[in-house]
Symmetry: C2
Subunit: 370 residues, 2 copies
């Protein structure tokens, strides 16, 4: 039978999912001899050796079987402590926690469990590119509000039947950390509309000016997402957690049993060790890099100082797609186009999760492209 005569009929929900934007940049990049890469969305440092050792120990101890669906009890207890002492979430208990396979799996469970076709969602923008993808997959309707919003600006959504409100703080792609006033306004809106408030805190440790606040510290219906991938440089190991009201955690756990089964067993033991690891020297390094990028580019570009994560979202004068092609051709510089994070076509995202040499080359190339 010839493949070419086959008609592949796919489900409607995934029509139009597209990864071409980032792929295009990577394909272009793969043709370069000596590229400067400022596009990478993960830490440049290796996973700390005590965490690696914990993984080997778990393997040698035979921790290769299914774990409990919701995660190993040791990790859930340690996470409850972390949410309490690290995030000020006094009500955190193991029963409220689900351990899952990375933040993207957390989205999968949450949107799958919570969103019906036609439900309305509010996204703080510029936003992580997966939020609209999930809203699309599950047939929701998306509204957005800019991350610089004043609390009063939320009034226009107060009479909507919102189902989900979601943001990342610190933000991918801007590095913005939402203020307490903004978070309070979002929690109020969630309370008024009955929406689920999902706080994606995967970059929580990358908080250069001690501005980060967990909304869960004052709003007990918050759904708080916490990751290991970025914090401990273990993106490929697939580990994150969800802290939610207990009935939600139960439902998500059931859904996990039918989808992901459990987070990878060995990774869970590594996560337990990770929570004991002091990452402050890594954070200091990134703070220095954040300052360097800001000082180097502030006179050349319209740019807000990143407060967290490891990104700058930079305004450019031409179309983002054209700019990234020009950056590759003229400077062998790899960037991410802004349109995957926002409706504007006049931004690019850079990452300063990089060795100094690559970063310095990249930033001076970028300065010259202005």
């Amino acid at each position: 039978m010839s493949q070419s005569t086959l008609e592949y009929i796919l489900a409607n929900r995934i029509q139009g999912l597209d990864t071409s934007a980032i792929r295009k940049a990577f394909e272009l990049a793969s043709t370069l001899k000596n590229p400067i890469n400022l596009s990478i969305g993960q830490p440049h440092f290796p996973c700390p050796s005590n965490i690696i050792d914990a993984g080997c120990r778990a393997l040698k101890d035979g921790k290769t079987a299914y774990t409990l669906t919701g995660g190993i009890p040791e990790l859930k207890s340690a996470l409850a402590e972390k949410y309490k002492s690290g995030n000020g979430i006094s009500y955190a208990t193991p029963e409220r926690i689900l351990v899952t396979s990375g933040i993207s799996s957390a989205f999968l469970l949450l949107f799958n469990a919570l969103l019906n076709e036609g439900d309305e969602c509010l996204v703080v923008t510029p936003h992580f590119l997966m939020y609209p993808a999930y809203i699309k997959i599950y047939g929701g309707k998306m509204y957005s509000i800019h991350e610089s919003f004043e609390p009063e600006a939320l009034k226009e959504f107060a009479n909507r039947k919102l189902k989900i409100i979601i943001y990342s703080s610190p933000s991918n792609p801007t590095g913005k950390i939402l203020s307490r006033k903004q978070l309070e306004a979002l929690a109020d809106l969630a309370e008024k509309t009955g929406a689920y408030l999902i706080s994606d805190e995967i970059y929580e440790l990358f908080d250069y000016d001690k501005k980060f606040i967990s909304v869960g510290s004052f709003y007990d219906k918050a759904i708080t997402l916490s990751g290991f991938s970025k914090t401990y440089s273990m993106t490929g190991l697939r580990l994150s957690s969800i802290l939610a009201p207990e009935p939600i955690t139960k439902v998500l756990t059931t859904l996990q049993q039918y989808t992901l089964v459990c987070a990878p067993s060995v990774t869970q033991w590594m996560g337990l060790e990770a929570l004991k690891t002091d990452m402050s020297s890594y954070i200091s390094d990134y703070k220095e890099k954040r300052d360097f990028v800001f000082e180097s580019l502030r006179d050349r570009y319209e740019i807000n100082k990143s407060e967290g994560a490891f990104y700058f979202f930079i305004k450019i004068k031409e179309k983002d797609d054209d700019f990234i092609v020009r950056a590759v051709k003229e400077k062998e510089l790899i960037l991410v186009p802004g349109y995957i994070f926002t409706e504007s076509k006049n931004y690019i995202r850079i990452s300063f999760a990089s060795e100094w040499e690559n970063l310095k080359r990249g930033i001076s190339a970028l300065a010259e492209l202005a």
Copy 2:
């Protein structure tokens, strides 16, 4: 704010997902002092040490970052070879292969990508409990046909608009291996109706009488699922692969980018080593256990000789729920009720993936319960 006043409104698609059956057995079991467990759905032997060592090497080599969405090229190439030489699938190429996080993730991607609300599915029954769960989540309609079917029996489905045909062979829960004639009939039906034919071959190596055939060896539109969990005792490490027509593999890869991102990196390197591992002594051990169970129970129960996997599906005279409660109370014996795999309430599933001592105690207890 009080939790108890909250109304949690969930998406319709997950209403009624339920794990209470298996949980009930486990809860009962947790009260026992010296239980005999024949309920376990995973191998009792440890993951072979060369595979463990490969995991440690990968960790120490810093393989903790995201991999390519579809899997590391080394593993995809090795899998293509495995599908060719192990399964007789001559057209297997890396481009047709997606590496994902366990078979359940493969189902997640496939049903998500292929099934629209109202689409019809045919399931060979008794069936793995996740098939109906996924059909339910995505709003499909399920038909079933008993695994003992004659090819002519499929005629009644020939004019249906089937979207998915799915089975596991060797079967969980019965150990049945579908014959070549049956597989040909299923492939014909798929061809006639335009359905996707999904062959779940996670137990392929547990083939005690050399009866196993991959439908993909003669049907090039087959979607073949292959796992590492059961074969190499690495259920907690989350690794499997999908071999599909290239356009389908592309779509599933895009969907993976938005959901699972990639299979765990370290596990992928372990998978590469696993494919070089000779498991024949483990399989011989299970064959001996299979024979022992059959000989011990054939005069007490109506029972078909399991041909593969590590299960027997045993007919009982009372209701399965009552029987498993009686087994726990009278014999401290843990079983799985059959109703989660079939419409009949007169079966139980036992697993012989067990040490001899536990197995012998369990089988003699079971014989006494007849």
